[in-house]
Subunit: 250 residues, 2 copies
């Protein structure tokens, strides 16, 4: 839950409040990310990150479809549907999900195993499905706001590309095509979403809902890294059935 | 609710059972449709039909997005998303909703009024939203089956084009572009959906659910015509606030 608003914000103030949430809560501040980017993780730990993050990637089109299913604003639907096309692929072109599987394959994980999500941490799946469910249950202005973590994504993608290329022998430029592509897509998406939220969240209740939605979404991302850290860094308690780098899936 | 199944059907038997439901329950059998096609309606009654039917058209992309939001089958999502593009319009091209507004405009209804749904019958809106809600709450095999009224649509569209052209001076070829376009789209959509249902509904419970879903969808269409008949034909009780041909909206 975000700080309680006591008065309606101007669109500019609302943007500042949203950016402040990102500065405080976006998952680039999580210790797992520092380990990931600095080269401090083993191959097994990077594999665990990539296969868990796949669950999030795979859920994105369902989340975006849930948003479209909730809005009678045809302009919003026509803008938003390109996210489904980008991520699922369209017209014979591969999508973001395929590009993520390039990464997991290159890390030595079979796509069947990754797609099955058998090795994912339960906490990952809970967080991801909580996000899809949140979007299915809230009106568009709130759910558009929940996507605004994209505002903060380009920095982390740039950091990830350079950090991972530099620090891991098993990472090369071709496997990071997902992040390269998102460097182009995310700012366009984020700009539209920010503009939509600034224009449509005008009452105190709507603005509070928008800020809470972004906090919620930051929590969805943060919780995934908490779970990874606990399972694969410290204390290192891998839940039953989850991916174990010491006992790779056959 | 469909007749109770007592044993699992083969895919061919399932198709026959689905087609039997259409033969008994599709809205081409409704008295309002006979009046519409035979030229027995006044301009005001045709206006009432077109503006109420707009509510259904406008809800279709939300229904299709709800289906996509419920499925983890990426192939199904990639096939289904073209319905949203067809209907909402995509890449600068107009969609089915625009083509419906060509019809309502040509009947003398302002698009702002039609889009506002202010003049729609409450029973229309309830039926349409029941459909969107049904799709949001059921798994893909059931919701795909609910779209199978498309199997029966080409005949009614052909009948509508020829009957309305022949029988109403206020209808010309250019305003029926919606139905012409659907003659091409519906069979492709229906073929995919029928194939999907035949391959995925394998248990008694799934097959019963599929048959019930098609009955439900036929009811959604039928209820809309019942409401039109009651309000604008007999007994002619127009609910408060609904479109009144005697007192056209300003």
């Amino acid at each position: 839950m975000s700080n309680l608003l006591t008065e309606v914000l101007s669109p500019q103030e609302l943007e500042q409040a949203l950016r402040k949430i990102g500065a405080e809560r976006y998952h680039n501040r999580h210790p797992f990310h520092h380990l990931l980017h600095s080269g401090a993780l083993s191959l097994g730990q990077v594999q665990a990150w990539a296969l868990n993050r796949y669950c999030y990637q795979a859920a994105i089109p369902r989340k975006d479809a849930a948003l479209i299913s909730r809005t009678t604003d045809r302009n919003l639907r026509r803008e938003w549907v390109h996210r489904i096309l980008d991520h699922d692929g369209w017209n014979g072109e591969e999508g973001g999900i395929d590009r993520w599987l390039v990464l997991t394959e290159s890390l030595g994980l079979k796509s069947d195993y990754v797609i099955s999500q058998r090795g994912a941490l339960p906490a990952t799946v809970f967080a991801v499905e909580a996000y899809v469910d949140f979007v299915a249950r809230h009106p568009p202005v709130i759910t558009v706001a929940s996507c605004l973590t994209e505002l903060f994504a380009p920095d982390i993608h740039r950091e990830r590309i350079s950090g991972m290329l530099e620090n891991y022998p098993f990472i090369n430029e071709s496997v990071l095509v997902y992040f390269r592509r998102r460097l182009g897509q995310a700012p366009r998406d984020a700009e539209f979403a920010l503009d939509y939220v600034k224009h449509h969240a005008r009452t105190l209740a709507e603005q509070q809902g928008v800020l809470n939605a972004l906090v919620f979404k930051c929590n969805v991302l943060w919780a995934q890294l908490d779970a990874l850290y606990a399972a694969y860094v410290s204390p290192g308690h891998i839940p039953p059935g989850a991916f174990d780098p010491e006992q790779p899936p056959c």
